[in-house]
Amino acid sequence: MTDTYTRLVSKGLGRDVAKKLGLPQPAVLRRYEPGQPLISGPVLVEGSSPGADALAAQLLEWDLDVRRHAVPKERLGAIVLVLDDLESPADLEQPVLTAAPSLRDLAPNGRVVTVSRASDGATPAAAAVRQGVDGLLRSLAKELRAGATGNGIVLAEDVSATSPAALGALSFFLSGRSAFVDGQFVRIGSTAGRLPADADKPLAGKVAVVTGAARGIGAAIARTLHRDGATVVVVDIPTAGDHLADVANEVRGTALQLDVSRDDAGQRIIDHAVGRHGHLDIVVHNAGITRDKLLVNMDHGRWSSVIGVNIAAQLRINEELLASEHFRSAPRIVSVASTSGIAGNRGQTNYAASKGGVIGMVRATAPLLAERGGSINAVAPGFIETEMTARIPFATREVARRLNSLQQGGRPEDVAEAIAFLASDAAGGISGEVLRVCGQNLVGA
Amino acid sequence: MNTGQPIILGEMPSLSKLYVNAAAAAARRRILGSPAGAGLPSVGHEVRGVQADVGNLTAYQHLIGETASDVLPAGFIHALAFPVAMSVMNRDDFPLPLLGMIHLRNVVEQRSPVRFTEPLDITARAEALRAHRSGTQLDLVAEVRVSGGEAVRWRGISTYLAKGVFLPGIDKASASVRPEDFKAPDPTAVWQLGVDAGRAYAAVSGDFNPIHLSVLSAKALGMRRSIAHGMYLASRALADVGAAKGDSFRWDVTFEAPVFLPAPVGLDISTVQTDGAAWLRSDYVAWNPRSGRKHFSGSVAAL
């Protein structure tokens, strides 16, 4: 589903012409397929802290070709900048500038991952340098080319660089699963989580519910969760049941035709999952609608239906989940937010309010799930190539899809990969977070 | 009356020749007048060793809605015997004009079943010349035996009317009986008879009487349109009675208004049972659903 333009400029004559004209040259992104190595090429681990040593040891254990010092002219798969011991802005220069020349050697679709500490609760100087990593990484990501991305892992106090969620996040960022995630941070809030026994089946034995799964991103989520080993219950409104059935049959799951805004939706989801599959471990709130209109022309119908489906339904279902005895064993909730909810979008006041609401809801719900070892996070997609965005007029679509560091739109599978990661046991230490899957869109945070 | 031995014909008379002869005889009569004498021929005719054609039998069975079994439908035997009966009416000493005769009534006794494999001896004779309020009527009696056998398996009495022919020595019938008022019941079936219903039955029965074949041929004989064969209608009614009638039965039909083609025909079949719910009789009546005029009625009863 790579767009025609990207295919055209990625090889041969098209590439040369685009280069001469100074046109954007989006790369064909490396995307995950089962059995694929985490990353090809050596991984340079830069940094001198105990965390850096431990992390390098862990990467060796994953059978990666680890370098603690750069070998000139050697093509690198990834650079991991371990910055977990910085105490003042002055500490930043040494590791960063040491690693800098190696950026030239970064292979196409390579990775830069920073590992740093959270600034909250730190001394002013420590906070300054830690927050400084934020600006550094986001800028660096914009300098990377050829499908390479830069992302960061932020460790809370008392969370080591080799805690399960940190390793989970590192492996996610290194792999093709994070192809369209760029310039983003995930915060590891706790040591909770567990790495999977089989890296290709991180969701083995899990029962997952995906709402809005009849098509687009929802269907991709169902496929990805199924690929990762989960038994999937796909949910969508009854009128989308035919597409839903196709998805269910494809992912060997079960279809539940249900309007998530019904009062009893949560109970029916629990009943179906538990009744048919014995338990319920993962709920992905993907169902969402848009009813765009400038606020000046907004009416009750457009407003209330968007709020009702996109956030009120999620809140109601979460309440049922939290009250249920069947959602107690390290449960996962992942909500689909939107970059509109972060950066805003003209004509989408209702939609952005609902998606901003999702982000707020996720933050506030995280502590409630922590007691039972659970987590809740949101994924905010940017421009994703779907049936919905295919209806945007050509010129607008072309602009929208190039307005990010990767100069292309993402695929539904890219969103699904982020969700699958957040739904995995490994991500247990990540909760209340919003992960953007936007190729580092120029708008928004 | 005519109790003598029948004349044995060497082969089955050809109906088309009989019709041609009849036309010639009619012309002769117009010129020379009716033959003297008002008596019926004293002899009957017989054809021996008649064998039903199985292909024709199947086509007949399918046309009238019978299952294509090996047993000859009672109406099919009527069609087999018809040329023999016609040949009697075609005799020079037959007192009435054959063409234009109207089939009033038909009674068949199917005493035991006849299979298509059995060669048949068919006799026919004319009987009971008598007056009718609008002419002269007589019965054509046909009997069918399995060749060499004694027992009559099938016996048919067809009553024909020579309309407007009054023979000397036969008293005029008393004042006409007013036909009872007929009110059509709810139908149990409605047949949709196409314009080709006459041709289709002619093809399986061999009865190519022009009044049944087409509008043109019927008009040539003074009809406004072609009409359905009476025995086709009666045979369909018999078929509709179904398996309840068993192997031996009495089947009668009285014809009233002809069915001009094409036409829908309303039909009502009702079953009369004994107290023990055994089949006793099926009565049928057919009419024109538009005008409500009765076409024919009859019954099939256990023998």
Binding site: A245, N249, A255 | V190, D240, S270, T271, P289
Partner: protein
């Protein structure tokens, strides 16, 4: 329980058992004992596609397309992908000769295991219900553990036959060996032979359409226009309410852009229904009362029902909505006017209930297929008729009265439409869901009765019990 009932149905069945002593009767006694250990056949659930008026959304869809879609929806609902189901049986009333193996072909095109056997069945409009009863019996006997029953019909994509004349010529041509023979055969062709022969719903033995037949029965039982219109109105109202309540959310999968039955007129009124002109029975002596509003239209659609033994359902974590208790078929002699074409259920239901020691008062839900409003009302009238009860049913008086508040409470064929063979599956799945929701009544499981009339003067009825 029906086993007990069957053992007392007549002296013929019991004499064999009484003649004890011979090895044969011992074997029979043994098999009778084994038969008493019959299992339960339960309805797990169902799936159908919305029913579409002919010439509408499914115009270009074949029976196989629609049956496959209904199957795939069922598979998705119950997670049956790659499952080897014991047997699948379905059928269609209007069937192309190329669809000689319709159900098996649909299975092969579905997400079920390709090792799932299937057969076609046809009993006119009772096809769907008969597949449920037949497969249910196989489950009860332990021959299979799971089954999918179903039916499909398309009046849009109905087979068109060549004329009899052309057909005979073509067949003879095929048999002919030499060219001159072939030319001779071809010379038999007449222009009219080239006109195709479209199927009609007329009864072969009477030439009357089903509507004309029902018009006779409707008149015979003196069913008024108003009563028929009211029944039609209730059907639409009940079906619309069921959709609003989400009743069909887990009974139906959209198809070809339809997510509701296209015949449903949620906004119809008695006035609108009363304004329609009669279409059947216009040549009868009495007033014509049957309109397009109180008769079912030609419809396209498909339905499926998942049946299983209790063990299979449990092993698969699937619901057990209702038990298929018993079924009965009847037929009437409509050819000779003894009974109306669609009156067979009037005889089948009394026999079924008597065998099970039940009366109409014991039934919590009546699902009487609305071929025509007149069909339902004539049946109810016959049951309430003293003379009919005495002379035709052999009872002391009238058979009984159906509580109208329990009749077709979620709508029926007048509103949903009636794709002949698909109607049985629609009813069984809906009734099973209703019974399951009702649970128990006065301490006993809720009971539901299904009655489906069929061409050829037939009727199939069934008894379901909440599980």
């Amino acid at each position: 329980m029906s086993v007990d009932g069957q053992s007392v149905t007549g002296p013929e069945e019991t004499t064999n058992v009484r003649a004890a002593g011979s090895p044969q009767s011992l074997r029979e006694a043994q098999s009778l004992r084994e038969a008493q250990a019959l299992r339960k056949a339960v309805v797990v659930g169902g799936n159908r596609i919305p029913f579409a008026r002919t010439g509408g959304a499914y115009t270009k869809s074949s029976n196989q397309d629609m049956l496959t879609a209904a199957l795939d929806g069922l598979i998705a609902r119950f997670g049956l992908q790659d499952e080897r189901i014991g047997e699948v049986a379905a059928g269609a009333v209007l069937k192309h000769s190329r669809d000689f193996n319709l159900t098996r072909e649909a299975v092969l095109g579905s997400a079920l295991s390709a090792e799932t056997p299937a057969y076609d069945l046809q009993q006119a409009c009772a096809t769907g219900l008969e597949t449920v009863l037949g497969l249910g019996n196989k489950i009860r006997l332990g021959q299979i553990q799971s089954a999918i029953a179903g039916g499909v019909d398309s009046a849009s994509d109905a087979p068109i036959a060549v004329s009899e004349g052309l057909r005979e010529v073509l067949l003879d041509l095929n048999r002919a060996k030499a060219l001159p023979q072939r030319l001779q055969i071809l010379a038999r062709l007449r222009p009219k032979d080239l006109a195709p022969d479209a199927p009609n719903t007329g009864e072969p033995r009477t030439g009357l359409s089903m509507g004309e037949h029902q018009a006779l029965t409707t008149a015979q039982w003196k069913i008024t226009r108003q009563a028929q219109d009211e029944l039609a109105y209730n059907s639409h109202r009940n079906l619309a309410a069921a959709y609003e309540a989400g009743f069909f959310d887990d009974l139906l999968t959209p198809y070809r852009g339809l997510s509701r039955d296209s015949n449903l007129r949620a906004d119809t009124t008695l006035e609108k229904l009363a304004s329609l002109k009669p279409v059947f029975g216009r040549n009868l002596g009495s007033e014509a009362t049957m309109t397009a509003g109180n008769s079912t239209p030609l419809t396209d659609g498909a339905s499926t029902v998942l049946l299983a033994s209790e063990e299979w359902a449990d092993q698969h974590g699937l619901p057990k909505l209702a038990t298929v208790l018993d079924g009965e078929a009847a037929a009437v002699d409509f050819v000779h006017g003894k009974d109306g074409l669609l009156m067979a259920p009037a005889f089948a239901v009394p026999r079924l209930l008597a065998r099970n020691g039940l009366t109409l008062d014991d039934i919590d839900f009546f699902e009487i297929h609305e071929a025509f409003a007149g069909t339902v009302l004539s049946t109810l009238a016959a049951w309430e008729d003293e003379e009919f009860g005495r002379t035709r049913l052999g009872l002391d008086g009238a058979f009984g009265k159906v509580d109208r508040a329990r009749l077709n409470v979620n709508g029926s064929s007048l509103a949903a439409g009636h794709p002949f063979a698909a109607t049985g599956g629609r009813i069984v799945a809906s009734l099973a869901k209703m019974l399951h929701a009702k649970g128990t009544v006065d301490g006993r499981p809720a009971l539901g009765l299904i009655s489906v009339c069929a061409a050829g003067g037939q009727g199939v009825v069934a008894l379901l019990e909440a599980h």
